[in-house]
Amino acid sequence: MTTRIVELRQGILKKNDELARELRERFEAAGVLVLNLVSSPGTGKTALLERTLRELRGRGKRVAALVGDLETDNDARRLAASGAPVRQINTHGICHLEAEMVGKHLDGWEKQGLGTRDEGTETQRSEAEGCVRIEELDFLFIENVGNLVCPSSYDLGERVRVALLSVTEGEDKPLKYPTLFNSVDAAVITKMDIAEAVGFEREAAHRNIRAIRPDIRIFETSAKTGAGMKEWLGFLEELQR
């Protein structure tokens, strides 16, 4: 019996990383800015996105969204009401999106045209007729599965990763989930309209976010009242330039 050591030195998520790299090149070539939104369940990713899609469209931007959930297309229905093309990715139990899932849904878009659905029902309608391709978009938002752990490991080919944190979750969330908060490029504090009622400590939240990611941009929004949307949308347009 001979024992030997075979050195591999390869990334465990090599396949995902390679796919993500290809997607990133494709997005860049297409001139579409892709953002990956991550947060725990219930933070308000969908609410922020509903308003963001609507307001960006109002500014003449061409926007679309991919939304990940374990089950249901409820979020996609909500988002489609903004008039933007939306597609649901159901992960069926997987707690995060992977590059392959994103890649598959982009191909579907190109063939079927934006705003149509994989199977049957007539939800996710949009004004888009025929074939809209990612080349025709300014922004593509990817709403990840609500989870503050696993999405941090999976590159989706996005250019910007944004973490959301609501005022009800506790100001120390970034300290509890440093692996995710350290991996993002910007943070949005949501539900600011109820900040006072729930005793939200603004300074502590900012301090904790910056303790984990010192150079990060932080926004404060209320998807309900529209507070802070101007700064957030300004940031998005700035990224696009």
Binding site: I5, I12, S153, T179
Partner: protein, 134 residues
């Protein structure tokens, strides 16, 4: 928890890379896991038993080397190991340090295998991605 899918990826990658060692038995698989990789060793170990149960890797050890987070400090120009994941500051001068140099690793480092002494495959072993020693 995504450790099961991580472990499944390890099993696939190891199986694939050992194609050139027919009949070899996997004794040990060594991983390098950074403190920022969002993966918990206990959970990896638990999933390893499940994921390898029906494979030729059944019974193989999973050895996980934890890689600490090191940051580069723009203020004092040094690299240092983070004392705590609760504060990304330079361990030397205390300034905020956003430039992470290590700690995101999620890698298969090496695989230890056993072969019958008479087995072929020694010459020409070691493809593009596999280097052999020992």
């Amino acid at each position: 928890m995504h450790e099961l899918s991580i472990v499944a990826s390890v099993v696939d990658a190891v199986t694939e890379s050992l194609g050139e060692y027919p009949g070899a038995r996997v004794v040990e698989v060594r991983l390098r896991v950074g403190a920022l990789a969002a993966v918990v060793e206990d959970s990896l170990q638990f999933c390893w038993g499940i994921a390898t149960e029906e494979t030729e890797m059944k019974g193989a050890r999973l050895v996980v080397t934890a890689i600490p987070v090191t940051v580069h400090c723009a203020a004092c120009g040094t690299d240092g190991e983070l004392e705590s994941l609760q504060s990304f500051t330079c361990p030397r001068c205390g300034e905020p340090a956003a430039d992470v140099r290590s700690g995101r690793e999620l890698e298969i480092e090496a695989v230890e295998i056993e072969e019958d002494s008479g087995a072929s495959g020694v010459s020409g072993a070691g493809g593009a991605s596999a280097k052999v020693s020992g």
